[in-house]
């Protein structure tokens, strides 16, 4: 599997995602500039990463402007053809604004930007991103956002549950999904979801920030391994 990492003006986690894909996971990685109108040699076997950051300064609404960059048309095409797309933090917001994922990310309920280690519990093994994860042990994956409160109306929420589209929920150290463990007021502690045909993933926490032991936490690497394993396994 090759990775394509989209770079918007204002993305600032792009270099981090490229480092993890290329150096840590030893995969071929392409950089996709927002003005490009092609995906280079990426096929539907490959995964397009939309990294965190403040695309276009997050003005108007996070991800609202990024959605109209030329590359996003190609990314939407790639997704509709079944190719993998993985949006992290700002990337998740862009995917919601582009209607590749349902719902929206609103301002945190406490009105503050928050950056901390955060426990989350995988909710399903039925996707490439989570198929290797243990559903009983919480993962410690840092969050860093000001607009991370996931919101979906009642019908959308019902659909997410019926189709098993919820990937992660915020929890405490021992895995309990409680209101106290919810860092931003997301509906039902939702931290990440996938689309109906299970090839587009979005999550607010940053797995690329904990993929190396030198940083004292490698839980995030498990997601990348899970994603890659599907192809080699």
């Amino acid at each position: 599997m090759k990775f394509g990492v989209v770079v918007f003006p204002g993305s600032n986690c792009d270099a981090d995602v490229i480092h993890v894909c290329k150096e840590v996971m030893q995969c071929e990685t392409r950089v996709l500039w927002h003005k490009d109108t092609h995906l280079q040699d990426l096929t539907t076997e490959d995964c397009i990463m939309i990294p965190g950051g403040f695309s276009y300064g997050d003005y108007l609404r996070c991800g609202a402007i990024a959605r109209f960059s030329p590359i996003m048309e190609k990314v939407i095409e790639h997704a509709n053809k079944g190719g993998y797309v993985f949006g992290i933090c700002n990337g998740f917001q862009v995917l919601c604004e582009s209607h590749l994922l349902p719902g929206a990310l609103l301002a945190n309920n406490h009105q503050r930007f928050i950056c901390q280690n955060q426990y989350l519990l995988p909710q399903t093994n039925n996707t490439a991103l989570t198929q290797q994860l243990d559903l009983t042990t919480p993962l410690n994956i840092p969050i860093a956002h000001g607009e991370g409160r996931y919101f979906a109306d009642a019908d959308t929420l019902k659909m997410l549950k019926q189709n098993d589209q919820i990937l992660f929920k915020y929890c405490d150290a021992s895995g309990n999904i409680t209101e106290a463990a919810n860092p931003n007021g997301s509906i039902e502690n939702i931290a990440g979801i996938c689309n109906v045909n299970r090839n587009v993933f979005g999550m607010m926490p940053h797995p690329e920030r904990c993929a190396e032991s030198v940083l004292g936490n490698a839980d995030g690497k498990k997601l990348f391994e899970s994603l890659l394993n599907l192809v080699y396994g």
Partner: protein, 72 residues
């Protein structure tokens, strides 16, 4: 403005501090106010253009409703 049924934490926080200052304001809601100038030959054309700009970029139906006025 944020949809009515949506929790508006910013509005709630401002309502709370208004109470502390002795103002009994209720359902305080905070949204965006955008002003812009566009070229248009008529009122209708201007309205139609703004409508389209809202639909395409300025408005996200999942969380917001919008109103606008056009003035020469």
């Amino acid at each position: 403005m944020p949809l009515k049924e949506l929790l508006d934490p910013q509005g709630k926080a401002v309502e709370h501090s208004l109470h502390n200052l002795g103002f009994q304001a209720t359902n305080v809601r905070i949204g965006k106010h955008i002003t812009l100038k566009i070229e248009a030959t008529s009122q209708e054309e201007a309205t139609q253009k703004v409508e389209e700009a809202c639909k395409k970029l300025l408005h996200n139906p999942v969380m917001e409703y919008y109103e606008f006025t056009v003035s020469a």
